[in-house]
Structures are given as structure tokens and as C-alpha cells.
């Protein structure tokens, strides 16, 4: 697990910096998508999460879900063009899961990319992640992440 000012970045995930989401290769051609620790920190405590339905086709950069906190409302943008195979009902019923467990219980959708090789080129993984996020956090003036007790990563 990589860490930058207490913001966590699991090593096995791909990161879309422009959309501030992660993508986990499920090994069957599909990817789970969720908000990064930085994204949930920037958003603050989430009160609503409205998911696009399973079966819907989405384009890269378009909305997979709309999330709302006390200070922000906005889309969770897809890092891939493809089809939504599955959604996480717990993310919709308990939006704070996206804060408490952004990389595990708080996943948002599972998507099957249709142009994987092309879209994967814009994602980062491994050592590159920290370099990119260091610049991103400086730009967004995010000093770091502070977690509630019980945070699961």
C-alpha cells in the first residue's frame, strides 16, 4: 500500500488521475471502479450516491454515478468506455461506505471495457501513482487525508 500524506493507494489498482477513481482488474475482463482516498477526502462525508443501472453503456469520462456530500455534488466519471455489468447496492444505500472503505466495500460499479488497451494507456499504476498524486494534491491544495476511526482503506 503506497501512502502520501496519509492518503492511501493500494498497489494492485490502476488509477485515473483525471477522474480521481481507481480500477481493479477482476481477472475476467471486467474492472471494479471506485473513488480514491483523495477523492473521498475532497468530497467530504457523502450523503447520496445514485448509480447508473447495470446494463448501461458508458463512454470514457462520462458518469457512472452521481455522489453528493454536504459541500459537493458531482459525477463519478468512468475511466473506460464499456458496459456496466454490476452495481454495488451498498454504495447507494450507505454512501458513507465510500468514505469509510473507498477501496473495498465502497466500490461503485463493475464495468467491462470495450477498448481496454486504448483506455488503459491513460491509467497509472505502481510507483508512478505517488508522483502523479503529489502534483495533483498540490494543485488541489489537499494537504493529506484524515480518516475516521474504523477506516478500512
Amino acid at each position: 500500500m503506497a501512502e502520501l500524506n496519509n492518503c492511501l493507494f493500494p498497489d494492485d489498482l490502476y488509477y485515473s488521475l483525471e477522474n480521481n477513481v481507481w480500477a481493479q482488474d477482476m481477472g475476467d475482463g471486467s474492472f471494479r471502479i471506485g473513488l480514491t482516498d483523495v477523492a473521498q477526502t475532497l468530497a467530504g462525508s457523502l450523503i447520496h450516491c445514485k448509480l447508473q443501472p447495470a446494463g448501461k453503456a458508458v463512454k470514457k469520462g462520462k458518469s457512472l454515478a452521481t455522489v453528493e456530500s454536504g459541500k459537493w455534488v458531482g459525477p463519478v466519471k468512468s475511466p473506460f468506455t464499456g458496459d456496466i455489468l454490476e452495481t454495488n447496492p451498498a454504495a447507494e444505500s450507505t454512501p458513507t461506505l465510500l468514505n469509510k472503505s473507498p477501496y473495498k466495500q465502497g466500490w461503485i460499479v463493475r464495468i467491462k471495457p470495450s477498448s481496454l488497451d486504448e483506455d488503459k494507456g491513460s491509467l497509472v499504476k505502481g510507483a508512478e501513482v505517488l508522483t502523479h498524486y503529489k502534483a495533483y494534491m498540490a494543485d488541489k491544495q489537499v494537504s493529506g487525508c484524515i480518516h475516521c476511526e474504523g477506516f478500512e482503506g
Binding site: 496519509n6 458513507t96 484524515i146 475516521c148 474504523g150
Partner: protein, 97 residues
């Protein structure tokens, strides 16, 4: 009994969305009353930018976190919700040395 220190400050870092923070805030205020204001209590909400900045400046990584200062010097740091009686015992130790 020896006299306690002149200045004791309890700073409690919290957030309204932090489920474990509310009971700690309540307990801290109850102790403040029980000790008849012998220590100053300041709650810092991370909901606000100044609160967040202060938390980062103090190296806070998890909330709730309690910092206890005696005459301006940090003497105790309790990360996470303290066990039952832990905060009271800590305050007793500081206020009634």
C-alpha cells in the same frame, strides 16, 4: 494534595460524520463539567478548512484524536475513542499529580 498545573488544555479533533466522535465529545464535556473547568476544552471540527489545517499541523491522521497540553506542552495523545475511564484517569493524573 499538590496543586495541579496552572494551564491544561484538551484539544479534541472531531467531525460530524465520524460515528465514533460524538460519544467522545459528549464524554469530554461531561468531564469538563465534573472537573469544574480545571482544564480548557477545545473541540476542533475537521468539517472546516481551519480545522483541517490545524489537524494537519498537529499531525493528526485519525479522528477522534485527543491532545492534552500542560502549560503549552503536549503531554498525552489519545488516538481513536478512548477506552471507558481512560480519559478521566489521564485527566486525574495530570490535574492531581
Amino acid at each position: 494534595m499538590k496543586e495541579g498545573p496552572a494551564s491544561v488544555l484538551l484539544r479534541l479533533f472531531t467531525h460530524p460524520a465520524c460515528a465514533g466522535c460524538g460519544p467522545v465529545v459528549k464524554s469530554a464535556w461531561e468531564l469538563h463539567e465534573a472537573f469544574k473547568g480545571r482544564f480548557e476544552l477545545k473541540t476542533i471540527s475537521l468539517e472546516t478548512k481551519p480545522g483541517l489545517d490545524e489537524a494537519f499541523a498537529q499531525g493528526i491522521k485519525t479522528i477522534p484524536t485527543i491532545l492534552l497540553f500542560v502549560e503549552g506542552v503536549e503531554v498525552e495523545r489519545i488516538i481513536g475513542a478512548p477506552a471507558a475511564g481512560q480519559l478521566e484517569q489521564t485527566l486525574q493524573k495530570i490535574l492531581n499529580p
